[in-house]
């Protein structure tokens, strides 16, 4: 039988849904019986969602980068029309 420690070691395969049928069944069986591991997996999924939604600062540097890139592009367009 899968131990809790082994389940934690393989939890990534569960989160990424990359398990053989056999592993999937042994993980499911373990989770049915083990409240600690159920809680662990639930919280791992919650951690994933938190990382996904963690706000990032929009920086002014990105605006100036975008402005520069579109200028380069516009310059290229003009060049193409002239040639």
């Amino acid at each position: 039988m899968l131990t809790c420690k082994q389940l934690v070691e393989r939890s990534g395969d569960l989160l990424d849904n990359r398990m053989s049928l056999r592993t999937r069944i042994s993980m499911r069986t373990h989770l049915l019986m083990c409240i600690n591991c159920r809680r662990f997996i639930k919280h791992m999924r919650l951690s994933q969602a938190v990382v996904r939604r963690l706000p990032v600062e929009e920086s002014a540097a990105l605006d100036s980068l975008a402005a520069r890139l579109s200028e380069i592009r516009q310059g290229k367009q003009r060049g193409n029309h002239q040639s």
Binding site: D16, C37, F40, M44, V50, L54, L65
Partner: protein, 203 residues
């Protein structure tokens, strides 16, 4: 073109529309930075990303829509970074630094493989509620910064950018088993931080 959203954006990019570039940069800068960071490290990452953006703008006509725009951008970034590295040795990619709140390791389990201490119950059960705590957000930022370049990048590319593990392998030239190890370690450190915060109310 197989990616309709990309094709609409591409038309606007080709015409040089500034708003389209703002969208592009805001959407992909983070992922491009993660790729560059994993390959060349923090010192040269920003420069690589700059160079990659210039390559993108100058080669827009070359984008055929055979892949998604995102894959194309990240491939250019990875190639730019690898060119930069050509004569330098890659740093060891499987490095592991201690997280501020540890991880879930052997010491959490009894000899028979059962939990020694049950995982803690958390006060909040949605990401929105968890993220309302300013202190927790700052605490998580600290944990993310503490990750090695490769761990942090793999985590970001997988969890925030939704890349498949195989895509990450190809971009960063890391084996699948190493990508899985890096991702697992990073996830456990994030988990440990949340667990610690929910248990103690402090970072």
């Amino acid at each position: 073109m197989n990616y309709p959203d990309d094709s609409a954006l591409l038309a606007r990019l080709l015409s040089g529309e500034q708003k389209a570039y703002r969208e592009l940069v805001a959407t992909y800068q983070g992922a491009m930075r993660a790729v560059a960071f994993a390959i060349v490290g923090s010192r040269n990452a920003d420069e690589v990303v700059q160079d990659a953006w210039l390559a993108v703008v100058n080669n827009l006509e070359g984008f055929q829509g055979r892949s998604s725009l995102k894959t194309w951008l990240l491939t250019i970034t990875a190639n730019t970074a690898k060119t930069r590295l050509k004569h330098n040795r890659r740093e060891v990619l499987i490095d592991d630094l201690p997280g501020p709140h540890g991880t879930i390791g052997d010491e959490h389990f009894a000899d028979d493989g059962h939990w020694l201490l049950a995982p803690h119950a958390w006060h909040q059960d949605t990401p929105e509620k968890l993220l309302m705590e300013v202190e927790l957000r700052e605490c998580l930022e600290k944990t993310l910064v503490s990750l090695s370049a490769s761990q942090g990048s793999v985590l970001l590319l997988r969890e925030r950018q939704g890349l498949e593990l195989e895509e990450i392998c190809n971009l960063l030239d890391i084996s699948l088993s190493n990508v899985r190890v890096l991702l697992h370690r990073a996830r456990l450190k994030v988990f440990a931080t949340l667990e610690h915060f929910e248990e103690t109310g402090k970072c």
